[in-house]
């Protein structure tokens, strides 16, 4: 039996084949799978596709040296963190001619100001999804989530940066603040809101809102689009105080041994047809000009999925808080435990 184990070990360690193998690490259910086969057929490069569930899990794995991935799909603040810690390789944009299809408004973003490390993949906003049969007034401010009228009909996100972030925005502060007084004010507001909240949810917000179990929920725009299709009573709004603008982008870790192939993959993902296939399957908003043109006009004009620049003028992208995140952790724990 030991011989069996050793044999297995030897075989698995023997990765030195002639064919190049590209390792991709992405969120679960975040790509049109046929795209992978298309890439393999076109370039003759085998793709090992793994999935992760949170930025933090992915970060731990890459940081400790496990995985040997060539392409990653982190979110904005994680990209910033990885750049600061030297974990990412600079992408040679010359090898990615399809980058020309990325709209101007998605270039030079806060987490990668010189466009050296990342190529945007999907984006969206955070906003309020509300059931128009239960909420008769216009939804323009985060303050509606603190309205006594909707006691036990409000769903908040069980995610510390999102929930603390929108509270900070409601109070007029930045979502990335390190000011202790501002954070204390946010904590007080969240504790004040607690009796009105039906539940702090994750992805089950979709089931609940479609079933009409709550009047208001904080959701991501991509999910909001789906929910509105399933239940026509639902509407989405990004409050005036501003909200969170999020991006998931493709990056190459510094430890990658197949940078050229990784750039080939990223370029392939920016091909108009491929980009359209992905956005069509996932349903989230694409930063790709040509893919946007191929969308169903109803979706392309949907302000939920594709808000105007004016609508998101007050939106912020999450920044990497590094050590200060512990403070946000502490506050969220205190809010949940209250």
């Amino acid at each position: 039996m030991l011989l069996l184990v050793l044999a297995v070990l030897a075989l698995s360690s023997c990765g030195k084949k002639d064919q190049v193998v590209l390792s991709v690490y992405n969120w679960g259910d975040y790509i049109d799978e046929s795209v992978i086969s298309l890439f393999e057929k076109e370039y003759g490069i085998k793709v090992n596709y793994d999935t992760f569930s949170t930025n933090e899990d992915m970060y731990v794995k890459i940081k400790s040296g496990g995985g040997n991935y060539d392409v990653l799909f982190p979110s904005d603040y994680t990209i910033k963190r990885m750049i600061n810690e030297g974990m990412l390789a600079k992408v040679n944009m010359g090898n990615i001619p399809n980058y020309k299809y990325i709209a101007d408004r998605f270039r030079n973003l806060a987490y990668d100001p010189d466009n050296e490390y990342s190529v945007p993949y999907m984006w969206g906003t955070v906003g309020i999804l509300y059931n128009t049969t239960m909420v008769k007034e216009p939804v323009t401010s985060w303050k509606i989530l603190w309205d006594e009228k909707y006691k036990k009909q409000i769903l908040m996100l069980d995610s510390q940066r999102d929930s603390i972030g929108i509270t900070l925005k409601m109070l007029g502060y930045s979502m990335n603040t390190r000011n202790p007084e501002e954070l204390q004010a946010a904590k007080k507001a969240l504790i004040q809101q607690k009796p009105l909240v039906l539940a702090y949810v994750g992805d089950d917000v979709k089931d609940k809102m479609i079933a009409g179990e709550a009047a208001l929920a904080v959701v991501w725009s991509g999910d909001a689009v789906f929910m509105q299709w399933e239940n026509e009573d639902l509407a989405y709004a990004v409050p005036e105080e501003g909200s969170n603008l999020w991006f998931d982008a493709m990056v190459i870790p510094a430890t990658s041994k197949h940078q050229k192939e990784a750039e080939l993959f990223i370029n392939f993902m920016c091909d108009p047809k491929i980009a359209f296939m992905n956005t069509d399957y996932i349903g989230y908003s694409t930063p790709h000009i040509e893919a946007y043109k191929m969308l169903d006009p109803e979706l392309a004009n949907d302000k939920t999925a594709y808000p105007d620049e004016a609508d998101v003028a007050n939106c912020e992208v999450f920044e990497d808080l590094s050590d200060y995140l512990a403070e946000y952790d502490r506050i969220w724990t205190e809010v949940k435990a209250h």
């Binding site: 990765g15 799978e33 999935t51 569930s53 992805d203 479609i210 999910d223 399933e230």
Partner: protein
């Protein structure tokens, strides 16, 4: 004296409580909508999509292969280990038992991270090999803990009697001890198999190179919502296990009472 009818009702409630989530899961695998919130009609499309989904099929394959291999290897190692520990002197025995208990009481995340760091340190590429080794590692203590108590119950003299009658030690082991502890070995095997299929944290940190298990694939869907393809897969797995259990039970009840007694 509790009325039989009341006992029956109570039992039904318990089983309902246990199985209600699974039944709902199965019902929604036929729902023509991605979300639980609305019932849009009966469909088999999730089952169709399931078999075309390369990721899920690959994860299913690896989950089963790793579970079968690791449980068999862990059972062999664990049984050998249990016999070894059983024959140790007092102090060594206590030390060995403490070492055996450590992986059991350790939180999964500690074991997972520790194994990952060990593999990286030893320059072992994370992939199928490392995943298999990790599963064998956390399965073996459970097998030891399953087999050891039965060994204590054995009559020591039987083994010595077999040796006196001219059997070689291995022959004596094979004919005398092994049949007695076989039920516990099977229990250990099934326990190891279940733990292996169920594991997420340790698998997540010790795998790579495109090798993924079902639990990792499903957990990675958390952000986007669980795809009903998983409902379809769960239904099929549930029915398979149910069928196997029915078959095993039928075979057992058709055998003689003496055989059944030995199997207990």
């Amino acid at each position: 004296m509790v009325k039989p009818r009341l006992k029956w009702v109570y039992a039904c409630l318990i089983y309902l409580f246990l199985y209600a989530p699974i039944i709902i899961l199965i019902i929604y695998s036929f729902n023509d909508s991605r979300y639980r919130g609305s019932w849009n009609g009966f469909t088999l499309k999730w089952y169709q999509q399931l078999f075309q989904d390369r990721q899920i099929m690959s994860a299913l394959y690896y989950t089963l292969v790793v579970a079968v291999l690791s449980s068999i290897i862990a059972t062999v190692l664990g049984t050998a280990g249990a016999i070894g520990i059983h024959n140790m002197k007092k102090i060594k025995k206590t030390m060995a038992m403490n070492l055996t208990y450590l992986p059991v009481v350790n939180p999964d995340i500690v074991t997972g991270l520790a194994l990952m760091i060990l593999f990286i340190f030893a320059h072992v590429q994370l992939g199928f090999g490392s995943l298999l080794l990790a599963h064998i590692t956390f399965n073996t203590p459970y097998v030891i803990l399953s087999v050891l108590p039965k060994l204590k119950q054995l009559d020591k003299n039987l083994y010595e009697a077999a040796l006196d009658l001219g059997a070689t030690p291995f022959h004596a082991f094979q004919r005398v001890i092994l049949p007695e502890i076989m039920p516990r070995i099977i229990t250990g095997l099934l326990l190891a198999f279940t733990l292996s299929v169920d594991d997420f944290v340790i698998s997540f940190f010790t795998t790579g190179s495109g090798v993924s298990t079902l639990s990792i694939t499903i957990y990675s869907m958390a952000r986007r919502g669980i795809n009903p393809k998983i409902n379809a897969l769960s239904t099929l797995l549930f029915l398979t296990v149910l069928l196997l259990l029915i078959i095993v039970n039928k075979r057992m009840s058709s055998q003689s009472p003496q055989v059944r007694k030995n199997l207990r």
